[in-house]
Amino acid sequence: MITFVPREKVSKNWILIAPILSIVFTIFFGLLIFTFLGYNPIETLYQIFVSPFSRIDRISDILVKACPLIIIGTGLMLCFKSNVWNIGAEGQFIMGALLAGFIALSFPNIESKFFLLITLVTGFIGGALWAFIPAILKIKLNVNEILVSLMLVYVAMLFIDFIVRGPLRDPMSFGFPLSKPYPEGALINKIPFPGIGFLGQLHYGILFVVLLIPIAWIFVNKTLGGFKINVLGSAPQAAKFAGFSQNSITLTVLLLSGGLAGVAGVIEVSANIGQLQPEVSFGYGFTAIIVAFLGRLNPLGILFAGIIIATVKLGADNAQMTMGIPKVVTGLFEGILLFFLLTGETLQKYKIQWSERK
């Protein structure tokens, strides 16, 4: 039997060495796989890791792709820190986007960008409401939140599917499942930089990330709320003795993370799609779980983790376009990367112990 025993002291050096070693291992196995499959390994690694940074508009693409991941990941961080396992951010993302979309499509002529504030708040409410269901079931009936939040993802997927095929379908769409386009007031525009113009597709939604990260950092590290969350996660008994209400913390983190996922949904749809369609999320809610852990449940870490994941995703597309490497191969490589990064992190905190099976 293999057991993981927490290390008494985490070596400062290993905090640095572990990720570097992980990357070295990843690159080694990457070289091996790409060579074995007959692709130029150096060029492949270049395409995956470097080419996404090779043009300013590509860097913008990374930020655009990372934006929802970081927002959702930050919300999930609060949950995971307090041992609340919200696996349903994908559904909360969808419900946020859908509720905001409903508001947006109800005012077809609105042009003022102040309207965005309303849609963003609506999106927060939509996501939070969807997360409220697992929260209340957990608090009142002690139902496992993993199952409820996960299953509600599929409910949300089918619900938006139904909505864009039925009530919100554009009558001019020949029966195809698309809503009407959003009004100007509900669209998030690209950022014009004076003297330069647009930097690729970089849009105002990124400002939300810029605001969110420091706020989240202060909340987690400098406020009583953040302290409660930390204590509940690392020492539930201590939290109990201190009189922290586990229920109210559970409710708070689920509402916040659901709300943030909903906001991410609004930003994604308003900036990049501009109308409702059967699929709006493409797995952001699930990928963000990886982002939260890869970022070590720390806002700054999540910022970087989001950028890393986005980079590799875009790099995989570039490798496909320029070298014809199928996505399954780059997907394999992504898996190796995540495996080693998370292994590195686990091993720096835990020792492996082999013991006889009892």
Partner: protein, 369 residues
Amino acid sequence: MIKFCMRIFSLIALSTSVLFFLVSNSFAGSPTKVGFVYLTTPGDHGWTYAHELGKQMVEKRFGKDVKVSVVENVPEGPDATRVIRELAKQGNEIIFTTSFGYMEPTLKVAKEFPNVKFEHITGYKRSKNVATGNIRFYEGRYIQGVVAGLMTKSNKIGYIGAYPIAEVIMGINAFAQGMKSVNKNASISVIWANTWYDPVKEADAAKVHIAEGADILAQHTDSPAMLQIAEKKGAMGFGQSTDMSAFAPKAQLFASINNWGPYYIKKIEELRNGKWNTGDGPNHWPGNVWGGLKSDMLVISKFQNMPADVAQKAQKALDGIRNGKINIFAGPLIDNTGKEIIPAGKALDDGALWGMNYYLKGVNGKVPG
């Protein structure tokens, strides 16, 4: 010193060879760069695989004169916009986006790259540099109806539809027309899978149909699951998009095969000759390319697992559609509530097909929504 000279020499050699390469390349007429965007990985069956076969025909036909870039597994949203834009930036001159959900992304990028040509598969919106292409899938379904009508013993046909949109409904109705032309007693029941591709759901739907007595199955979804169930349970059916006889050697009667190659080749040729255009088709849906059996964009695989006289009648239907003797939606057409859609002597035009939200006689139930 010698080393230095060597270095200079090699540098000169290198730069001249590069220069020569560039010059010779431009004189030889550089290859036309063609981009493809796929919804999934091609695999070995179904929608995207049919496009992959078309792409291979392009490569075979043009050889070194084209350079093809493919991006597979592109979700129908912001990722599509980014990938299409990147393909345009990398100098692709014509880009085929091969799924309906790429419509808005294609139009968006096309606006930014007015000199790049775009071909969107199965969309209905066009612009100056966006053309659309589609296949008359329903023609194959008429022949399926003929074969089903002749082969069924229980007179119950099970049909699995993806979504209740016009394209699928016109397929069901064409099937009904074919069936009624040989068998007035049979009827079609439809189960909506609400997915284009989900082997589990498709298999479940097939099982339900068979349990309810259907002995011939048809599908407007993408996986071979239905045929595999039919094979196991002694029913028969039709393959979709690509030949699926390998999955169900005893159950597949024939497959309607999407043959995108000729369309791709035609459009690329037009581009190379400077004659590419978005067509001047009518304003309603079908777009500038909506080809069927006649133009070989839809191909019927070998008739198998059926008696010779059935195959003969199927062949007759096929020939009839090809030479225009059979007009699938010619009046009198009556819907399954008894309402007249169009009187004798008239026929539905293409625009009317894209407005179909009713079942013709021979189909049970009603269109959801």
